[in-house]
Symmetry: D2
Subunit: 354 residues, 4 copies
């Protein structure tokens, strides 16, 4: 394997490794068992039960899907009526980096200006007021669902207070709330966070607990806290090409994530690594472009520094800035070793010394 010769990417993102070893062990130990397909197995049942318990949502419907874009597109399509679109921060993942997967299902993404990746109850309310004040609103796309990500694409967090305000605005205009939790473990583990899984279950109509970026080989657990919201979800899943034949793989992995607080451990490790990186950056005089408490750290660096980071395969490109510098993103995960943080800091430091 050639990949072994070259050092893999460092801190570039949180899906560069396989599964957390404990998750891998669960897959190994169940591998030779014969169980029914399509999620009709005891592993899925057990995993769903554990998720219901940690969410304190005893009647929640839990569906296990493979990936994030798939989950977003399927969940939103199932929540939206045909004449509705989804309200999203203009920086929302669905608005930018999913190749138009939402539009592919026939729905418009209605973008709201965002600050550090976040929208507010107030901005939703204003948007809806303008919408219904327009005499020709029947010729427009109705707002139907609010899309949030926790943490956001910039690693920032909605507070319980903010989420509550959004719920109020949503209720005022008959909107549902959907939360993209691709990196939810890293939100839950952040010291600044005050939104728990039971809060999400109480305040949202649907959300997903991310596995792919938080310890599994792949997989996202979609939760509808109130049962019966989406009839025949299984069929929609199949129709979207989102059903995994060996559904048990998702049950086994999520079952393990929610055993002995593995999901919590995973989150806390990444947050600890991120804290160490933040400290080092500060010590070296680098400033975070976005003040964020989770596992993503954005730093603006000169083009030359970016070149060195690339050479060392450290960090990831985010965007070119108008002044010629580059916004770089460092991401920690369950798999991040302290040496990786040191590597990143030393490359950055060296580039300063020039």
């Amino acid at each position: 394997m050639k990949t072994k010769e070259k050092r893999g990417p460092v801190l570039s993102t949180d899906y560069t490794e396989g599964a957390h070893p404990a998750v891998m062990r669960a897959l190994i130990s169940s591998n030779s068992e014969s169980v029914p397909g399509y999620g009709h197995d005891a592993y899925c049942e057990t995993a769903a039960a554990r998720i219901r318990r940690v969410c304190r949502a005893p009647k929640a419907e839990v569906y296990f899907l493979v990936g994030g874009t798939q989950t977003n597109a399927l969940a939103l399509d199932s929540l939206l009526k045909p004449y509705e679109g989804v309200l999203s921060a203009e920086s929302g993942h669905i608005a930018n980096h999913e190749s138009g997967a939402v539009e592919f299902t026939g729905h418009k993404v209605l973008t709201l200006p965002a600050e550090n990746g976040k929208i507010t109850g107030e901005s939703i309310r204003n948007w809806c007021r303008r919408f219904y004040a327009d005499e020709s609103y029947e010729h427009m796309v109705f707002p139907g669902v609010v899309y949030l990500s926790q943490p956001t694409e910039f690693g920032t967090l909605y507070s319980l207070e903010e989420l509550t305000r959004i719920r109020e605005a949503a209720d005022e205009f008959g909107l549902r709330i959907y939360v993209d939790g691709a990196r939810l473990a890293y939100a839950l583990a952040a010291p600044e966070n005050d939104v728990t899984l039971p809060d999400l279950a109480r305040l949202c109509d649907a959300f997903y607990i991310g596995g792919t970026k938080c310890g599994t080989l792949f997989g996202e657990a979609l939760v509808f806290p109130k049962p019966g919201l989406v009839p025949h979800f299984i069929t929609l899943e199949k129709q979207h090409g989102a059903m995994l034949a060996k559904g048990r793989l998702l049950g086994v992995q999520f079952g393990r994530l929610f055993t002995r607080d593995l999901y919590g451990q995973i989150g806390r490790h990444a947050i600890a690594m991120a804290a160490r990186l933040r400290e080092g950056l500060k010590a070296s005089g680098f400033e975070e472009a976005v003040s964020s408490p989770t596992n993503q750290i954005f730093v603006k660096v000169p083009a030359e520094t970016y070149r060195r980071l690339q050479e060392a395969n450290v960090g990831g490109f985010w965007s070119y800035e108008p002044d010629g510098s580059v916004l770089v993103r460092f991401v920690t995960s369950w798999a991040t070793r302290p040496e990786a943080v040191e590597t990143a800091l030393s490359v950055l430091k060296e580039s300063q010394d020039v």
Copy 2:
């Protein structure tokens, strides 16, 4: 785990176990490596190169996807022009058991009568002649792609001669050919088979080499033998929610399948187990409902026998017959142990003795 207490399903289908142990070992050994996401890694590169080699299609484009319905819907959508539909046997998987995934992408499935799951060059030619003879054909759905499955849903096989005739008919009417190879390993290993991977690459515009039912945890390798047929397939993949973040998982698995002929071994084992079952059935006086040379065996049994099979968790329901009997399907796989075959035969035998 409750599943351990209850014996898992026996011969019910070919996706009741995890991955072939050798595939699993490859996943384990590569698990902690850090590699880039979305299939831009050396494992995917190596796997694709091996597939090109076994297909003798040195310029083929190879894409790794997660599941069969997903692959069918995405591949067909990418091959079809917006005014075209896909010709399929009326018993084709896309026409019946994919929850309308093809229609979800906006295309019609145009069904042809089939015998034992197969259509012919002649039936395609006749359909197309009738189509173009209709003066209002511009108000109809144009034929665009021919969908075949090898083996078919009934386990039968297209011969090289038959496939060649279909290619001729397709060429006459400007159609592309797509082959669903969910169980391709079991076709390739059947003694009756005379269609090789290089034949598929030569005669088809696209086909997929099934992994999910043939030894991997999940995954299908979609092959476009002639490059450039579908521009920006990666983006379409993302748009369909079909892109796996940790694409390496597919590369690792398919890389292993095509190392030291594992794919061939897997196929041959299942075919050997199926032969043993066929022999036993014949000895007991059971007749196959469809004469098929691969890993699926269809037997019509009395309702009472079906009840006993269910009780024993052996075989799978296929359909109720008008006379009250039940069509049962037995499926072997890489994971089938001889004892499973014995179990099935003894349940069937006992039910006869009553």
Copy 3:
């Protein structure tokens, strides 16, 4: 204008002329008035009120659309849930001659064998029973709506008894019923008919009263007898590109159709002309291929006769028969003059004399 030099098509179909003179006069007299757009005008209001009255459905929602395929696709999309398809006779217009417009909206057409264009309560019931008996029905397309056409594509009629049986089957499986009434005037006027507009309103969930083929320049009146079934239909209409800016044109035309029984007159005239043609055909020894009581008459003729009909621009091609002969369709309408019938009969007669 070149068209004036050449005689136009005779009895080829029921949309070869413009509007009935009385409808045209209504358009002329209202032409210079300034009224609001998009159907928010008094003409539409009045027309809808009249339709509610003749349907004895005082709360019905009535929407005016431009064409038949548009109305079918929009109405079905609005009635179907995303996991549902529409049951149709295999000869149904939506299954054959609408370029996959239903599939374009993401839904499958589920075809049932038909006799003379008709399906039965029994065939629907059997289809649904088989569907729900299949253990993997969640992987299939759910039946959602029954599509009927009155008269059918072959000019045949559902009797009140037959429609009642279909309603019972539909209720048993939670299906809605939609009736395509492109040629409804000709059904209502047929002596054999016993299904009235109030019957349709009572037994169906939606149906449309055809204008395009029954006296207007264009336009179909879609009726939802029970209000509230489809929220925000106006927005769906716009989304499908089906909203007419000058909606008043539809209101004016349908308002006139349902004044002084013009719709009845139109139907009766066409039926009288069809009767005369039938008589002449019988006298000349031609046999109807389908026994139908409305304005379409299907006759199988030798290829040479078809050539002569073509030359004379009389009748319309329907299909080639296996024996080399041609199925020809003659259609009468509000615009058919007795001389047209004579022309058709004399061409047919002459061809016999050879």
Copy 4:
């Protein structure tokens, strides 16, 4: 008819009347002729030939459709590849007032900031540069077509110079250009305009010549200057429910519009009426909110003035302004009588005198 009692809306928009009397006469005189359906008639042929001539595009394909949203959605869907979206001014009609018709066909509208409704070659170029500079552009929606409206939604015009710059930018990035000409007559007739029909045919890949707002009962003529760009457009038209059975109605109307320069006359009349209104507004001290040279005039008025305008059924609501005032739009058309302008001016004047 109740509508006769109440005065219709004045200057509210350009589709409040029926057809221009000359167009109506053409419909009347051809009404009883029998011609083939679906646009296969001599009227459509003649009208297309005339349009080719005025566009100096002898090989152009011309298709006649019913309405603007329909034409936009169908034309864009036919021009866009499945992985592409359409670039539009954020104020573009497709981005706001078509109920998501573009998204319904699976494509994203990619919005660019606009000034007075216009985008520039520079803004397109910058957007595309950023797009291709993003390392993950394969996960985004590719730019495929540039949507422009001439005149824009604010009545402003692209100059020949501006359109040429846009063409250059489009060519640099392989984009097609589509122009929405719903009100094209009013652009062509404006003294400030320097973009002719032959310019549009030379610089664009598709555009439509608006009929609905420019003299016909309904209808838009879609022009593809270079033939062969969209194969089987007729079938796509049918699939979108956009095909008019009596296609001749469109041929008759557009044939007349392009006879003896009726389209020019219609435009000039509306522009003359708009000039008179502009003069009167200026004299009364009202200022145009957007400086526009065509038939739409935007004026910001106090809420009380708006109330009076509403009472008098004069002008149309555009939007509420943050300061409590209302943006009102006055629209002239071929049907505007000088008295209507006087009425509007007197209501505005009276409201000032209070």
